[in-house]
C-alpha cells in the first residue's frame, strides 16, 4: 500500500511538474488540457441547459467507430478524415436516438443507452480486429494519452514553430467554438431556454439541435486523443455544472467555465506528477474536486449556506415573526 501513494511533499507537489526537463512537455500538457476543457465546457453549458448531458456522453462514445472507419478508409491519421468520420458518427447517433425514441415506445434514456453502446462496441471491435492498421489501442480509447501530446510532430507556420499538432488543432477548435457561440449566441440561448419562443422568432430549433450535435462531435473528436471517450463527458459537464452552482447568468457561467478549465488542468498535472498516474484522469479528478468545493462553499447555493439558512429558519425566524 505504501508504494502506491508516494509521500506528500508540498514543495515537490508544487514544483515537481516544472522541474527542468519535464517543464517543457508539461507546459504542452497543461495547455492541451486547458484547451480541451474550455472547448468542451463551453459546448457542455448548452448540453446542461438543454438537459442533454447524457447525449454528450453518448456522442463521446459513438465517435469511436467514426474515427476507426475513417482510419480504415483513408489509411492515415489525417485531421480532415477524422473530423468527417466523427461528424458522420455524431449525426448517425443523434438520428438513431431520435428514430428509436420516436418510432417505438422505448423511452429516450433507453434509446440513448442502446445507441451509444452499440456504436461503441462496433468501434472497439473494429479496433481490436484491425489493430495493426488502426493506430489506436483500447485503453487509449477510454482515457486517452495526453502524455504523448508533447512528442507529436510540431506545426510550423511561416517559419514559426507553433506547437505540437494536437495542441494547434485543439486551439483552432477552441477558438472556433468561442467564435460560433459568440455569433449564434441569441439562437442558442433562445432555443435552449424556450423552444416555443424560438419557433415564433423564426429560429429552426431542429437545425440548432443538429448543429450543436455536429459541433459537439467535432469538439469531442479533437479532444478524443488526449482525454479519451469517457473523460470527455467529464470535460463537457463538470465545468458548466460547477459554474452554474456559482452564478445564474449565462455570460458569467461561460467565464467561470474557462477559469475552471485552467485551474483543473494545472492542478491535474500536479496531481498526476505526484501520484504518477494518468494526466487526463488526474485533471478530471481535480475538476471533480473543484465541483465539490463549489458545492460545499458556494455563496449562492452551497451546502454550508443551505445549512445556515435552515438553522436560521428554525431558530431565528420564529423569533423575528413574534416581534413583528
Amino acid at each position: 500500500m505504501n508504494s502506491l501513494v508516494p509521500p506528500f511533499d508540498l514543495q515537490q507537489f508544487f514544483l515537481g511538474p516544472w522541474n527542468g526537463d519535464v517543464a517543457g512537455s508539461n507546459f504542452w500538457i497543461v495547455l492541451m488540457g486547458f484547451l480541451v476543457t474550455t472547448a468542451c465546457g463551453l459546448v457542455g453549458n448548452y448540453l446542461i441547459l438543454r438537459r442533454m448531458a447524457l447525449v454528450g456522453d453518448a456522442i463521446s462514445h459513438s465517435v469511436l467507430p467514426g474515427i476507426a472507419i475513417a482510419f480504415l478508409i483513408s489509411q492515415n491519421r489525417g485531421t480532415l478524415s477524422m473530423f468527417l468520420g466523427a461528424l458522420a458518427a455524431g449525426v448517425v447517433t443523434t438520428v438513431i436516438i431520435e428514430i428509436i425514441h420516436k418510432k417505438t415506445r422505448v423511452k429516450q434514456d433507453a434509446a440513448i443507452g442502446i445507441a451509444f453502446t452499440s456504436l461503441f462496441a462496433i468501434g472497439v471491435i473494429l479496433i481490436s480486429i484491425y489493430t495493426s492498421q488502426v493506430d489506436l489501442d483500447q485503453e487509449c480509447v477510454l482515457y486517452g494519452e495526453i502524455a504523448f501530446v508533447p512528442i507529436e510532430p510540431p506545426v510550423k507556420f511561416g517559419g514559426v514553430v507553433l506547437g505540437p499538432l494536437p495542441v494547434v488543432r485543439m486551439g483552432i477548435v477552441a477558438a472556433l467554438t468561442i467564435l460560433l457561440i459568440w455569433v449564434f449566441y441569441k439562437e442558442l440561448l433562445v432555443s435552449s431556454f424556450d423552444p416555443g419562443l424560438a419557433l415564433s422568432l423564426g429560429i429552426n430549433a431542429t437545425l440548432v439541435h443538429y448543429a450543436l450535435m455536429s459541433w459537439l462531435s467535432v469538439v469531442v473528436v479533437s479532444a478524443f486523443e488526449s482525454v479519451g471517450a469517457i473523460l470527455v463527458i467529464a470535460m463537457l459537464i463538470l465545468p458548466g455544472a460547477t459554474a452554474s452552482l456559482l452564478s445564474d447568468r449565462l455570460p458569467v457561467i461561460m467565464g467561470m467555465t474557462v477559469v475552471h478549465a485552467a485551474l483543473s488542468s494545472i492542478l491535474g498535472v500536479h496531481l498526476a506528477t505526484w501520484l504518477n498516474c494518468s494526466s487526463a484522469g488526474a485533471m478530471v479528478v481535480m475538476a471533480s474536486v473543484l465541483f465539490t468545493l463549489a458545492w460545499i462553499f458556494s455563496p449562492h447555493d452551497g451546502l454550508i449556506r443551505r445549512f445556515v439558512f435552515r438553522r436560521f429558519l428554525r431558530h431565528e425566524a420564529p423569533a423575528v415573526a413574534e416581534i413583528s
Partner: protein, 496 residues
C-alpha cells in the same frame, strides 16, 4: 405464477430458438475476415468451443449465461422505471471500487472485487441523490458528473497500479472491456449465487416490484415499502453489474442491462413475458459474445456481447409483430390503401348518383372529372379495385363496373358519410357546411354497431343535411340493377 403457463413458455422458447439460429448462422460471414488476421485454425477453435472439453470454455459459457439472465431480469425493471442511464452511470462508477478491491491483496480476488465494487456503486447512488436534492442541477447532469468523476478516480488508480512493479501483470485492465476467457471457477460460483438471488427476488417479490415500477403513488398508498423495494433493486443491480464486469467490462455493462430488456419491451405488453424474453435475450447475447471473442486471441468479450444484444434489438425494432417498424409501416400502408379504395368507390357512387343510376358502367373520364385527378391516377385506382374483386373493367379498361361486393362497400361508405353528417348537424349542432371534412375522415372507421346506433338515434332518417338520400340497407341489398330500374326515383332511400 402466471409466467409458468405452458403455451407462453413454449412460444417464448420457439422465438428464442429462432433468434439463436440466426446468431449462430451469422458468424460464417464474419469468420473469414477475423481468421485471416488472427492466423488461427478456425475450425479447431469452433470445435473447441462447442465440444466444451476446455474448462475455461465451460466457465466462460456458464458465466455468460448467468450474467445474461440476471442482467436481463433486472434490466427489465430498469427500462420500465425509466432509469436506463442510472444503470449506465453507476456501472462506470464501480471502477474505483474494483481497483480498491484489487489493492486489498494485490490480486483479482472475486470477493474483494465484489465488495469494493458494490460499495463504490452504492456511494455513487448516494452522491447522485445528494446532488439532486441539494442543488438545482438536473438528474442527467448529476449522473454525468458522478459517472465521470468516479471513473476518473478509477482510471487514476488503475494507472497507478499498472506503474507498480507487480501491477502490469495483474490483468486489471481486463475489467475495462472484459475477457470471458479469464473467468475463473470462483467467479462462476459468485455469478451463479447472484443470478439465483436475482431470480429468487424477482419470483417472490414479483407483485411488489411490478406495482412499484408502474405506479409508485398507488404502491405507497397501498402501504408497500416503496423506498425499501427501490434500494433492494439497486443493490441487486449493483451485484449483477459487478459479476458482469469480468466478462463485459465496465464500459459496456449498461448495454447488457438496457438492450435485451428494451428488445423484450418492444415485443410484449406483459411484464412476466418481458422478463422471460429479456433473460433469454441476455443469455443469447452472452453466449454469442463468449463465442466470438473466443475466436481470436485479443478479441474483447464485452463488445461482442453488446453487439449480439444490439442485433436482437434491431430485429425486434424492425420485425416485432406489434411494435416493429416494418409491421407498423405495413399496417399504415394497408390502411392508406383501403382508404384510397373506399374513396374511389365513393366517387363511383357519386357519378352513378349524378345520373340517377341510369347505366351501370362508369368511364374513367367521368371518374377522373369527379375526383379531379388525371386519367393515369384513376386508372391505377381502378386496377386496384379490380384486384380486390370490387369492380370489373371493360372496353380496354375504360369502363368500370362495380361487382356486388363493390356496390355494397360503396353504399356503406356513402351511408357512413351521410349518417355522420346528419348526426353532427342534429346532435352536435354544427352548421351543415362544416360537417363534410369530419365525415370524410370518420366514414372509413365507423363500425357496423356504431352505424346501427346512429340510425337509431337519427330515427332512420333518409336524407342527409344537404338533402341527398342516405342509402338504406334495403337499397344496398336490392343492388344497383334494382335501383336503376326504378321509375319513380324520388329519393331511393324512401321507405315504403
Amino acid at each position: 405464477m402466471p409466467m409458468l403457463r405452458k403455451n407462453k413458455a413454449v412460444r417464448a422458447a420457439i422465438f428464442l430458438l429462432g433468434a439463436g439460429l440466426f446468431l449462430l448462422l451469422a458468424p460464417s460471414a464474419q469468420a473469414a475476415k477475423i481468421g485471416d488476421l488472427a492466423d488461427l485454425n478456425f475450425a479447431d477453435q469452433i470445435l473447441r468451443f462447442f465440444s466444451m472439453k476446455d474448462p475455461s470454455v465451460r466457465y466462460a459459457l456458464l458465466g455468460s449465461i448467468f450474467l445474461g439472465v440476471s442482467c436481463g431480469l433486472l434490466g427489465s425493471f430498469i427500462v420500465v422505471r425509466k432509469m436506463a442511464l442510472v444503470g449506465d452511470t453507476l456501472s462506470h462508477a464501480v471502477l474505483p471500487g474494483v481497483a480498491a478491491g484489487f489493492l486489498w491483496n494485490m490480486s483479482k480476488d472475486p470477493a474483494a472485487t465484489f465488495i469494493g465494487a458494490t460499495i463504490a456503486r452504492l456511494l455513487g447512488t448516494a452522491v447522485v441523490s445528494l446532488i439532486k436534492q441539494t442543488t438545482r442541477l438536473k438528474e442527467d447532469t448529476a449522473l454525468g458528473m458522478v459517472l465521470a468523476g468516479f471513473f476518473a478516480v478509477g482510471i487514476c488508480m488503475v494507472t497507478m497500479i499498472q506503474h507498480l512493479p507487480t501491477g502490469n501483470k495483474s490483468g486489471i485492465d481486463k475489467f475495462l472491456f472484459g475477457q470471458a476467457a479469464a473467468i475463473s471457477e470462483g467467479d462462476v460460483k459468485l455469478m451463479g449465487i447472484v443470478t439465483l438471488l436475482s431470480v429468487a427476488v424477482v419470483l417472490f417479490f414479483y407483485k411488489e416490484l411490478l406495482i412499484t415500477s408502474f405506479d409508485a403513488g398507488f404502491a405507497r398508498a397501498a402501504g408497500f415499502p416503496v423506498q425499501l423495494i427501490h434500494y433492494t433493486l439497486m443493490l441487486l443491480l449493483a451485484f449483477s453489474v459487478v459479476i458482469s464486469l469480468q466478462a463485459v467490462g465496465v464500459v459496456l455493462v449498461s448495454a447488457m442491462l438496457i438492450t435485451p430488456a428494451a428488445a423484450a419491451y418492444l415485443l410484449t405488453d406483459r411484464m412476466h413475458r418481458m422478463l422471460l424474453l429479456a433473460a433469454g435475450f441476455g443469455m443469447l447475447a452472452g453466449i454469442s459474445g463468449a463465442f466470438f471473442s473466443f475466436l481470436g486471441p485479443s478479441l474483447p468479450t464485452g463488445p461482442f456481447m453488446v453487439l449480439g444484444a444490439s442485433v436482437v434489438f434491431a430485429l425486434a425494432f424492425f420485425f416485432g409483430p406489434r411494435h416493429g417498424v416494418v409491421m407498423k409501416w405495413w399496417h399504415h400502408r394497408s390502411r392508406a390503401d383501403r382508404v384510397q379504395r373506399e374513396n374511389t368507390l365513393k366517387s363511383i357512387y357519386h357519378v352513378l348518383e349524378g345520373r340517377e343510376f341510369k347505366g351501370e358502367g362508369v368511364s374513367l373520364r367521368e371518374l377522373a372529372d369527379r375526383r379531379r385527378e388525371t386519367i393515369e391516377e384513376v386508372q391505377t385506382q381502378a386496377k386496384d379495385l379490380k384486384r380486390k374483386g370490387l369492380a370489373t373493367l371493360h372496353e380496354e379498361g375504360n369502363l368500370i363496373f362495380l361487382t356486388p361486393d363493390g356496390w355494397l362497400r360503396a353504399c356503406s361508405i356513402v351511408r357512413n358519410h351521410r349518417l355522420w353528417e346528419l348526426y353532427l348537424t342534429n346532435a352536435a349542432q354544427i352548421a351543415a357546411d362544416h360537417v363534410h371534412e369530419d365525415a370524410e375522415k370518420i366514414e372509413h372507421v365507423l363500425g357496423e354497431e356504431v352505424v346501427r346506433e346512429l340510425e337509431r338515434r337519427l330515427q332512420y332518417a333518409t336524407k342527409d343535411p344537404h338533402g341527398r338520400p342516405i342509402p338504406s340497407i334495403e337499397d344496398i341489398q336490392r343492388g344497383l340493377a334494382g335501383l336503376s330500374r326504378r321509375e319513380d326515383l324520388v329519393g331511393y332511400g324512401k321507405r315504403s
